[in-house]
């Protein structure tokens, strides 16, 4: 037990935020933000569907779902860590190694496929890579007691270095029956990756939102002291969250190989968009907390935004600027509301 108490700073949470007083104005504002963000989402979809040709076509929606699969799986993995560690960006749960994890897992998969191993072996190797990275994170955070931000930053660098060593910074093409199936189109000529994202989200949501283990994660993240007092295995749950997140990284790696017909460089660029997406996900939940479905919605929000811009033929130079502005607006609104609640 004494070890658990030492661990407290790791999952430390601002007391004000962890025990929100349900002030009426705060609730109203939270409700307004939640409704507002949903309205904004729907409004943007509406504007695009009225102005952008092809936007509402089944093929295009399927495309966006498929294109969101990789970032979605990563963001959901991060969401699990956010839930278990609390969503304070600096002291709470965060897994910065996720994008690098995806890159290394993809490289492992592509290398295995190139060496002539079958899909089963390659899948196992990629998932095991993700799992191991998650385990290292868990040991660093729970065992050594390093703040997740720093622990996973260090692991990110190690993993990115390993990827460089394995790939020599080159593209490793890969083609296997599984990859072909994943990059093809499923029913309604919607990309298979779109179905993968939906099924993955449903499974993750079922586990995180509806099982006792999932509820305990929330308890550990939001009220660590209470969780400990209630006898919950805080360390094991936090470690489990990092391992689950690592596994998501490995899974995303496989999807990435199918999408890019191999492993390519530059996976690290996924990190910040994924972090932003996962943080943004809170505005799509009832209590402004990270949820799996909320993260899916925020992933799709970003995906539809990028897609709509392209369909409207808005110069690609403007896309990231406008995207950043929207995200800044939503995140600052959430932060202000949280402060108000406290």
């Amino acid at each position: 037990m004494s070890v658990d108490i030492q661990l407290a700073p790791v999952i430390h949470f601002e007391p004000g935020v962890s025990t929100p007083k349900p002030s009426r104005s705060g609730n109203l504002a939270a409700g307004a933000l939640r409704a507002g963000s949903l309205v904004a989402f729907v409004a943007i979809l509406l504007v695009f569907s009225l102005t952008a040709p092809y936007f509402l076509s089944v093929g295009n929606i399927g495309n966006v779902l498929g294109q969101s699969a990789i970032s979605g799986v990563l963001a959901i993995g991060l969401t699990i860590v956010l839930i278990a560690g609390g969503s304070n960006v600096v002291t709470g749960g965060i897994d910065l190694s996720l994008a690098a994890n995806m890159g290394l897992s993809a490289a492992v998969y592509a290398t295995a496929a190139q060496l002539g191993y079958g899909d089963a072996t390659a899948v196992a190797a990629a998932l095991l890579t993700g799992l191991l990275i998650g385990a290292v994170n868990a040991i660093a955070v729970v065992g050594a007691g390093i703040v997740p931000l720093l622990a996973t930053l260090a692991v990110m660098n190690i993993v990115a270095g390993l990827e460089l060593v394995l790939t020599q910074n080159t593209v490793i093409p890969a083609s296997t029956p599984l990859l072909t199936a994943l990059s093809s189109s499923g029913p309604l000529s919607i990309p298979a990756l779109a179905y993968v994202l939906l099924v993955f989200t449903l499974i993750a949501a079922a586990i995180v939102q509806y099982t006792p283990a999932g509820l305990r994660l929330y308890a550990v993240g939001e009220f660590p002291d209470a969780a400990r007092a209630a006898g919950l295995p805080v360390r094991r749950l936090v470690a489990g969250a990092f391992i689950a997140s690592g596994l998501c990284g490995g899974f995303a790696g496989i999807l990435s190989v199918s999408n890019l017909s191999g492993s390519t460089t530059g996976s690290g660029e996924m990190l910040l968009p994924v972090v932003v997406t996962a943080l943004l996900g809170s505005v799509f939940s009832r209590r402004l907390v990270p949820t799996v479905i909320g993260t899916l919605l925020s992933t799709l929000f970003v995906g539809f935004l990028v897609n709509g811009f392209q369909l409207l033929n808005i110069s690609s130079v403007l896309v990231s600027g406008v995207q950043g502005l929207l995200i800044l607006l939503v995140v600052s609104a959430t932060t202000l509301l949280r402060r108000q609640e406290a």
Binding site: P53, Y54, S57, G59, N60, N63, G66, Q67, I70, Q168, N169, T170, V171, P173, S183, P191, S256, N259, L260, S261, G262, T264, T265, G266, E269, M270, V306, N307, Q310, L311, N313, S315, S316, V317
Partner: protein
């Protein structure tokens, strides 16, 4: 391979004749936007939506080609749908997917790693959208507009070998053998060096990277110079493009080892300036004409949509800039 080459050789010779005429006309008119409209008077893209997909626009080459394509589509009366993936393969694939859903009248892909883009170019072709490429050969592309990379590779290798007097060690950046033009240029270097037994390519070869190409090349060359401290132990540094050359040149100059000459391809203005500087170790840079390549690709689209048959490859001449003629070349490119 030999069969391919001889077949291409025939086509290329004819094309070179044509392009020499066009090139002369363009060289005269290329200073300020005045185009050789007379020859292309009948070409039009009126009412056509032409998708332009760039792998990135952070290099001189792709930025010039990309902008020239957009302008050329507009000039011919068409509507460009231009997307820039910022050198991110995931983004590139997503943009191609969305482009296919947009059903443009043609897609022009600028550069890209073949194994990444090819499946999606095939899907575009399967969807009935003509695909043309710039500087990336693909079986799914109807026409590839590019510099003659065999010629570029040969010219650069011969210049290098002649500058170092036919003997000595050369350092090679070979990080992008997966990119076809780089592979051709590298193979040509190897072909030339094969007949100069006293020229040796140092092992291990270096790997140039994206991003941070310049800094990384600087670091790698600095480390290598420490490993080979004797003057004359390295004669030249070769890279398949000129951004690593930029970092390598800076590293060589910083280490005071200006007896080592550097070689690259693309004609980036900052590297051409170095070549022009008599004290700089930059030996030569083969300058492509990216804007001209971009315009030519779009004119090819117009020809295709007008029912003409296109050759597999259209070559736009490249110009080797060495210490002797760099000012002339820069002037021709409209940089100097």
């Amino acid at each position: 391979m030999t069969q391919d080459k001889s077949a291409q050789g025939v086509g290329r010779r004819d094309l070179l004749k044509l392009s020499a005429v066009a090139g002369a006309a363009i060289a005269g008119a290329s200073l300020i936007g005045s185009r050789t409209a007379a020859a292309e008077g009948e070409l039009s893209l009126k009412g056509k939506r032409i998708a332009i997909s760039a792998t990135g626009t952070d290099h001189f080459f792709d930025l010039q080609a990309y902008n020239a394509q957009i302008e050329e589509v507009k000039r011919l009366g068409g509507e460009p749908i231009a997307v820039d993936a910022g050198r991110n393969d995931g983004k590139l694939v997503s943009q191609l997917q969305t482009l296919i859903a947009q059903k443009p009248d043609a897609i022009v892909q600028i550069l890209g790693t073949l194994s990444v883009i090819d499946p999606w170019l095939k899907k575009a072709r399967d969807a009935g959208i003509p695909v043309l490429t710039v500087d990336v050969g693909s079986t799914n592309s109807i026409n590839n507009t590019t510099s003659d990379n065999w010629g570029i590779g040969k010219d650069l290798a011969l210049q290098l070998v002649s500058d170092i007097g036919g003997e000595g060690n050369i350092v090679v950046f070979n990080g992008f053998y997966g990119v076809t033009p780089c592979a051709i240029r590298y193979d040509q270097l190897v072909n030339v060096v094969k007949y100069f037994p006293k020229v040796k390519i140092l092992e291990p070869e270096l790997r140039d990277v994206i991003p941070n190409t310049v800094q990384d090349a600087f670091t790698q060359i600095t480390a290598l110079l420490n490993k080979y401290p004797e003057k004359g132990s390295i004669k030249a540094i070769w890279s398949a493009w000129d951004i690593p050359q930029l970092g390598a040149t800076q590293a060589v100059a910083a280490a005071g080892r200006t007896e080592i000459l550097t070689y690259g391809v693309d004609g980036s203005p900052e590297v051409l300036q170095l070549v022009a500087d008599p004290n700089s170790p930059a030996g030569a840079d083969v300058a492509q004409q990216p804007a001209e390549i971009g315009r030519t690709a779009i004119q090819n689209v117009a020809r295709l949509l007008a029912g003409q048959t296109l050759p597999r490859e259209t070559y736009v001449p490249a110009l080797i800039a060495n210490k002797a003629n760099v000012n002339e070349v820069s002037k021709k490119l409209g940089i100097g």
